[in-house]
Symmetry: D3
Subunit: 249 residues, 6 copies
């Protein structure tokens, strides 16, 4: 996938083939203190994902014998070309931040057997150290590794008996660039694409979440299906790298 | 559409056919003071949409000779079965609220020629008086009517020369109920559906936004396409009613 | 009252006689989900009042065997001529909002036997859909109907044994218009009146709260008494309409 | 007034006659830096009032050639029997605080010729050092002295040409204690009184604001008039002391 | 100390000798309701310190059989030459305020045997009524008196058996004025000094906290030692006055 | 310095000699987008420092022809052993955070010629990726490198003519461990040290800031001087590494 492919070249700004991912790297254990962690790089996008285990659940779940997985997302002020406000200094998280962290949480819960966790929580912190497009998708892909490692840690500590993850989950953004669907938009591509769609998919090929937005002209059903095909191809590679990072066959 | 159809009945909780919308009504001019307004009812969901015109644009657009359309969303505390916190009293809008109002704004901008507006803004307020599922979709559908009426008011006042709306936009939620795609989920259906997808579509058949979420099992490409087909059918009826509400052919 | 009267006409902006209320309507049960509700219209002022029952009391009352009644007040952003900020978006309620909701709560508690409620709370939400003066008074009058209906619901459910409402309560604003006391100011009158006074009165003729403010020149004792007389006349009509709305003799 | 009177003793907790004020003292110039200031003591209630002059008006008044007078109110955390939260630490002012500071501002504006001020503002800060009932009334009475001194300072500096104060304003609370109207409630009396009413009056005998609240049983017109009479008597003494504090005949 | 000394005069703005404190006064019991209180004046700086006893500890200390001492700091808006924002109105405490209140709390805990307190808390409120430099140091010195008196009150009430204060603590600021170390900077001196250092010291001569900041040029070890010597001299006098205020030998 | 020294070993938890720094590394240019950046590691403490240049100054400096340098500090939630709250989610920065960022800003301004900058600002963001004690000191040391690089960038761009940095600045914490002064505390040492002192020093040997706090027993002048000596030794090594990181002789 990362090598060139036989797809018709799109003349994308990045020079990549239409179905070519950026260089991906997943570094497990990147955070010293967390029960599970992963530093994911997708090209120049870099997100530190940590999984923190807590021995309790939120009030609305107490006494129900099940666990909870949630996420928080942040971006260092100078992760971007021009410095952004520090949300802690401004005193609130933006709508975009909240939207992203809700998506990450939902995506990871979709592949987690909450009953198998017992009454404990895992908080996934996804902090963007460097941003070049696709930070929400990279967060999901990296958070799965952090979560997997945290659950393995809990199993080793005999806190849980079986792995609560039922499947892998990964995400990638696709877009329409000058009429052609292309995979894994970087920032320069994203800001000029006609349509931007994020796909969250499972290892077994199901769709967990699809969010497609026409930036300019509305898109068609055929285009949506084209984007979905690219996402399927891209996440296949991400699933392979997740397994490698976790030392799974 | 509102009459029974020949689709195979899904045994949905609402007793509606799989491709049957709830009773829809669009009441233009429902708010005395607003430049444009519409009270939309989709079954027991009821949203008051107002369009307020302001003679300036946000700072990031100043001096660029174009306009802006944005939205705010709220829900009366007792619009729901059990009373929700008043966001003004809690001191912040929830992530869900922000996500919805960003979606409404994006959807309406997708069919607006911002250049044709000149330097003015329209704020769309969508306030849910009664909630029974599908409030964000109803907000988009009703807000289009409010926006259309507000622009007509501006044309009558000679503030703008041509109608900046390039197309209609409407939205509907679909879901998978016991394996069958069904149209226009009410609250009871939504809380039990396996998948919930919101489609924002244009009068000419394009997709402006798709947001599909697997609540339980991931969904497949075929299911996504099935849901899209229902949405196309449902929005066709909504477009017809929008035109009637605005007195358009 | 609503018909013309033999009071000397004041030449008020509204054309009403000095002692003439606006057209009043009280629509019980206007909110589908609430235990009690009432949509009150006083001319073009329109407030949706809901009563929500909760099976607990605030911390400062726990274990004392008594109940609590409190109120929250809000205004849709475009209830007014020019759009107001959404308080939820600004992140706090204005001083005016807090002042009004404290007044509504106090007024309803004044006619409620909190002991007879047992340890439960009722939250009265008064949301202004359309504003044309007198919204705090309309809120009190409408909230009494919502509260009465909610208590009746609790009695039917055998949650409480006797009706905790000891009396009716209603409110009306009066003012001095070009030297003459007039009843039930609308927005145009209120903004030009020399004095504005809100009277909260009980069905048996007692005063629960009086708030009189000189907008221009201070007022005299005689003027205060004149305004009180009008308020007594106006609330008499409101009490009659409250009883009708609740199906009371 | 401060000496005993021939009113029928009410057996009030304070042992004072029904129409007897607490010991009053007004210390002008109590704050070193302020343009005008006054430390007012009413019995054990102690409020430091300062008037700060600023050479600009709020945005809504700019360019209209008139001034503005506004107020802020606060209470030291241990001004009361049990320590209250520090509002700055909690991050917001209570509804009570906002209600009081709005009342103080309105009351002082009622006797100020804003046009005569030109485009400048005076901010009145009323900070309660010790609380024993009647802090809002003491604030108004003391703030008038601070404002008068600040205006005199501005006249001496040739910033304004004529004294913008048209009249004196002072306030006192009255209540019904075991069926008898009594003047100037202290905390112990206030917490047990049946009715509590604050009267803001002018030197020429007009009423600027009346706020009467039934704490238990509603009150009657006759009682309201009785309370007003006491207030007139009490403010007469306060006006005398204000003039002395300002060195006026 | 307060009389002139034989130190070489520094030509300080205040005209004081280099090692001369401002006039100090400590008025115990200045707040009617607090368990302990002290109004401290250092020249024109005036801080009201109150100690409020609460029968519980913060959550992180529960069940550990020890007490807690903490502090809050505030400044009246017009304590200063030009009016400052009211922190309660702005909705948050400044970084400076938080820094100061953390310092006050740490300083007092340094001389308190928390075990000897049992599970109770003392909150020290230090509110600046008039500011002329050195408010954080005056707060510490005055708070010690308030805390001592509060503990004595608790001993009299048999809430605690022995005095938990192990030593005295007091603070003073020193600075370098035109090359010469000087004691107890007032505002005019502080704003022009090259270096500003606050020393918190104990009755037995130990250092609890030192905070030295170069405002202009960095300072040397010799200068730091010179400032420390002055602080030792200044706090000796403050310790004497604390003992007098508390009626200790 | 990093090699063993001939100081008497203190038996410190880290096994280091009393005067031994942790392994230090300064990685310039660690952030892709910032005008200057440095990733500093002191043992397991890791802070990403970025310098962002903006072409304007804060309002209080406008039109004075000088620049400004300020700092913000943050910590990733899982930089620590147990996860801390995300300050952006909580809605405010802690007192500790504000205290630290004020210190960083002051320290860097102490060696900057603000006049030489012209009207521009540099914001230093110091974000702790991994925390093991000494994060505020590491932030200052790393921020100097980021600032130096940013100024060099501005010189290359001809935005400024001369290097505004007058000197180097670096910081290190020292403490008293079982009676012996030791250099560069890690978290385990810091939490048990009797005294903790942070020294901010300049390349020419001056003291910019000293903050010493007795955690248990007060400390003496001799101990303060001992700590200062260690700090001088430690910062000498840090200055050497800063120069290397910046490619300075």
């Amino acid at each position: 996938m990362n090598a060139s492919s036989n797809a018709r070249p799109a003349g994308r700004p990045s020079g990549r083939a239409a179905d070519q991912l950026r260089t991906v790297s997943l570094q497990p254990g990147a955070a010293r203190h967390a029960e599970g962690s992963c530093l994911i790089r997708m090209g120049n996008t870099e997100v530190l994902c940590t999984a923190s285990v807590e021995g309790k659940v939120p009030p609305f779940l107490r006494g129900q014998g099940q666990g909870w997985v949630t996420a928080e997302y942040g971006m260092l002020p100078r992760a971007t070309h021009t410095r952004g406000d520090r949300e802690a200094a401004r005193g609130k998280q933006s709508g975009r931040t909240q939207e992203i962290q809700r998506l990450i949480g939902r995506s990871l819960r979709a592949v987690t057997d909450l009953k198998a966790m017992g009454e404990m929580s895992v908080i996934l912190d996804c902090d963007v150290l460097s941003a070049d497009g696709g930070t929400r998708c990279a967060s999901i892909t990296g958070a799965w590794v952090a979560l997997h490692l945290a659950f393995r840690h809990c199993m080793k500590m005999n806190v849980i008996g079986t792995m609560p993850l039922k499947d892998q989950v990964a995400a990638v953004s696709c877009g329409i660039w000058q009429g052609t669907p292309v995979l894994d938009l970087d920032y320069a591509e994203d800001s000029k694409a006609e349509t931007d769609a994020n796909f969250v998919m499972t290892g077994r090929g199901g769709i967990v979440e699809v969010q497609g937005t026409a930036e300019g002209e509305p898109f068609s059903e055929a285009e949506l299906i084209g984007l979905l095909g690219l996402a399927r191809q891209g996440t296949a590679e991400l699933f392979r790298q997740q397994r490698t990072a976790c030392g799974l066959g």
